[in-house]
Amino acid sequence: MRKYIIKRLVYLVITLLVIATATFFLMHSLPGTPFDEDKISNLSQEQQKQVYASYGLDQPVYIQYFKYLKNIFQGDLGTSTLYTGQSVQSILAARIVPSALVGIQAVLVGLLIGLFLGIVAAYRHNTSMDYLTMVISVLGISVPNFVVAALLQYFFGLKWGLLPVAYWESYASSILPSLALSFGVIAQIARFVRTEMLTVLQQDYILMAKAKGISPVKILLRHALRNSLLPVITILGSITVNILTGSLAVESIYGVPGIGSLFVDTIKANDYSTILGLTLFYSAFYVVVILLIDILYCVIDPRIRLAPSKE
C-alpha cells in the first residue's frame, strides 16, 4: 500500500504539471489583456511597452512559461493584476478560509442527514418515510441552491430575525450558507445510500444476521452500511471539491468573502497569475481527494484491489 501511495503522489506532481501547462497556454490565448483597455489605450505606444515589460508580458509566451515554472518551484505564485499588487498566496489564503468553513459544515451536515434518511428509507422501503426521502431528494437537487439561500435568508434572517441576514461577522454568519448548501448534499447522499442499501438488505448475510437475532440498528450500521458506502464515497469526493471551492451564488447572497467568485472574476479579467494559482490549488485538492477516495475503497471493501492483480 505504501508503495502505491508514493506512486500516486508522483503521478500527482505529473498531473499538476500537465494541468498547469495546458492552462497556461490556453489562458494566454484568451481574448483581451490583464489591463483596463479604456485606460491603457490613453497611453502612448512607448508608455504601453513599459507597462507590458513591467509584468514580463512583452516576452514570448514560452519564455514566460519557463519563468513561471521556475517561480513555482521556488514557491512564488506571483502577484495579481486584478487585485493589483497583492500576492496570489495571500489572496488564496484569505479567501479560502470562509469557503472552507461553510463547505465543511455543509458536507458534514449533508452527510449525516443524508445517511440517516437514506438508511431509514431503504429499511422502510415503500412506506411514507421512503416517499418523504424521495421528495426531499428531488427538491434538494432540482431547486437551485440560490433559491434555497434566498428563502432561508428571507425567513430566518429578515422575517424572524433568528440568524444574521448576511456579512461574515461571527460564527452565526456561517450557519445559513452551510444550511443552504447542504440540501444538495443531503439529496444526493440519501438517494445513493438508499439505492445501495435496498440491494444490500436483500442479501443472504443480512438475513443470516437477522436470524441470529442481531438488533436492526446493529445490522443496519455494522453490516449493511459499510457495503453501501461505495458510491457515497465516490460522490462525496466531487461534492466536497465543488462545495469547498465555493458556491458563487450562495456566497454572493450571504456576503461571504469566499473563493467562489474568484475563478470567474479572474478569468474574465485575464489575471494570469491568480488563475494559475487557483487552478493549481483546485487541481491539487481534487487529485488528493481522489487519492483518498481510492484508498478508502480498499479500506471499506477489502475485495477491491487497485494495484494490478497478478493474474
Binding site: 492552462t23 490565448s29 445513493f192 460522490i235 478569468i267 477491491i304
Partner: protein, 307 residues
C-alpha cells in the same frame, strides 16, 4: 373415505425425456422484456411516465396554443401577472411567459437528453473499461480525468465561444468536456467491487469476452447507481447551461431555457414571484417524474432486486 388399496399396477412410469428435465417452463424473455413487464406493473412509474409525456407534448404544442410567440415584445404590457390574455403573465419586455416557458422546456429537455446520453454512453463505457482492465490502463484513464477536471472549464468555454458561434451545438460541446466524469467514477467504483466476485470468475472460465462480461454481467448490476446518477446529472446540466448562456455561450436572446428563465426570475424575486415560480415548478415536476421513473427502472431492471 374409502380405503383404496394402492397396488403397483395402478401406477405406470411417466413418459419423460432427458431433455424435458432441462426444459424451462416459463416463456423465454430477454432481460429487456423482463424489465419492461415489471416496469409496467409499477403504478407510480406509469403515472410518472404519463406526466412526462404530457410535459413533452406541451413543450412542443404549448406555444402553438396561444397567439403570442416567445420573442415579440410589448412595452406597454410588461410584468403582467398571469391573466386571461397571457396565461403565465409577461416578462420585463412584455413577452408572453406561456410561450417562453414551453419553448424553454423544449430546450431544457433537449439538454437533459444530451446530458443523460453523454453520461450513459461515454461515462459508463469509460468507467467500466477503466475498472475492468485495471492496472496501468486504469491509472492512465483516471489521470486523464484528473487533467480534464483540473483545467478550468470556463477558460475552455470562453475559447470555444471565440471560435464557434453561440448556440446549442457549442453548448453541448462545452458540456461534454467533463459532464460525464462523475458517472465514470461511480461505475468504476461499482465494477471494481464486482469484478473479483465469483460470478465474474465463472463467466471468465466459461470463456465470455470482456465485452460480454461488461454488457451482460457487470452493467446490469450497476443499473441502480447509473440510474440515480443520471437523475442528478440532468438538473446539474440544466443549471450549467443556464450559467453558460448567461456568460454568452449558448442561448442568445430572445431564446431561453428553463434555467435561464429561473436565473432571470430570481432577479425579480422580490416583486414578480411568478417569473421564478413557474419555471421552477416545471423543473421540479420533470425531476420528480424522472426520479420515480428512474426508481421504477431500477426496480425493474436490477437483477439483484428480482424476487
Amino acid at each position: 373415505m374409502q380405503n383404496i388399496e394402492l397396488t403397483e399396477d395402478l401406477f405406470c412410469p411417466a413418459e419423460t425425456d432427458a431433455s424435458d428435465r432441462e426444459k424451462i417452463s416459463r416463456p423465454t424473455r430477454s432481460a429487456f422484456q423482463d424489465g419492461w413487464i415489471r416496469l409496467k406493473q409499477n403504478k407510480g412509474s406509469v403515472i410518472a411516465l404519463a406526466i412526462l409525456l404530457i410535459l413533452v407534448a406541451l413543450a412542443f404544442l404549448g406555444p402553438i396554443l396561444t397567439k403570442y410567440n416567445y420573442y415579440d415584445t410589448n412595452y406597454k404590457a410588461i410584468f403582467q401577472t398571469p391573466n386571461a390574455e397571457h396565461w403565465f403573465g409577461t416578462d420585463k419586455f412584455g413577452r408572453d411567459e406561456w410561450s417562453r416557458v414551453w419553448y424553454g422546456t423544449r430546450i431544457s429537455l433537449l439538454i437533459a437528453v444530451v446530458a443523460a446520453a453523454l453520461d450513459l454512453v461515454v461515462g459508463v463505457t469509460y468507467g467500466s473499461i477503466s475498472a475492468l482492465l485495471g492496472g496501468k490502463v486504469d491509472s492512465v484513464m483516471q489521470r486523464i480525468i484528473e487533467v480534464l477536471i483540473g483545467i478550468p472549464n470556463l477558460i475552455i468555454v470562453i475559447l470555444l465561444m471565440m471560435i464557434m458561434p453561440a448556440g446549442i451545438g457549442t453548448l453541448i460541446i462545452a458540456m461534454s468536456i467533463s459532464g460525464w466524469v462523475n458517472m465514470a467514477r461511480l461505475v468504476r467504483a461499482e465494477i471494481l467491487k464486482l469484478k473479483d466476485q465469483e460470478f465474474v470468475l465463472a463467466a471468465r472460465i466459461l470463456g465470455t469476452s470482456n465485452k460480454q462480461i461488461i454488457l451482460r454481467h457487470l452493467i446490469p448490476n450497476t443499473v441502480g447507481v447509473i440510474v440515480i446518477n443520471t437523475m442528478f446529472t440532468i438538473p446539474s446540466a440544466i443549471f450549467t447551461e443556464a450559467f453558460l448562456s448567461f456568460i454568452g455561450i449558448g442561448l442568445q436572446e430572445p431564446k431561453a431555457s428553463l434555467g435561464v428563465l429561473i436565473n432571470s426570475g430570481f432577479q425579480v424575486i422580490n416583486s414578480q414571484v411568478y417569473l421564478l415560480f413557474i419555471p421552477a415548478v416545471i423543473i421540479v415536476l420533470i425531476m420528480v417524474c424522472f426520479s420515480i421513473l428512474g426508481d421504477g427502472l431500477r426496480d425493474a431492471f436490477d437483477p439483484r432486486m428480482r424476487i
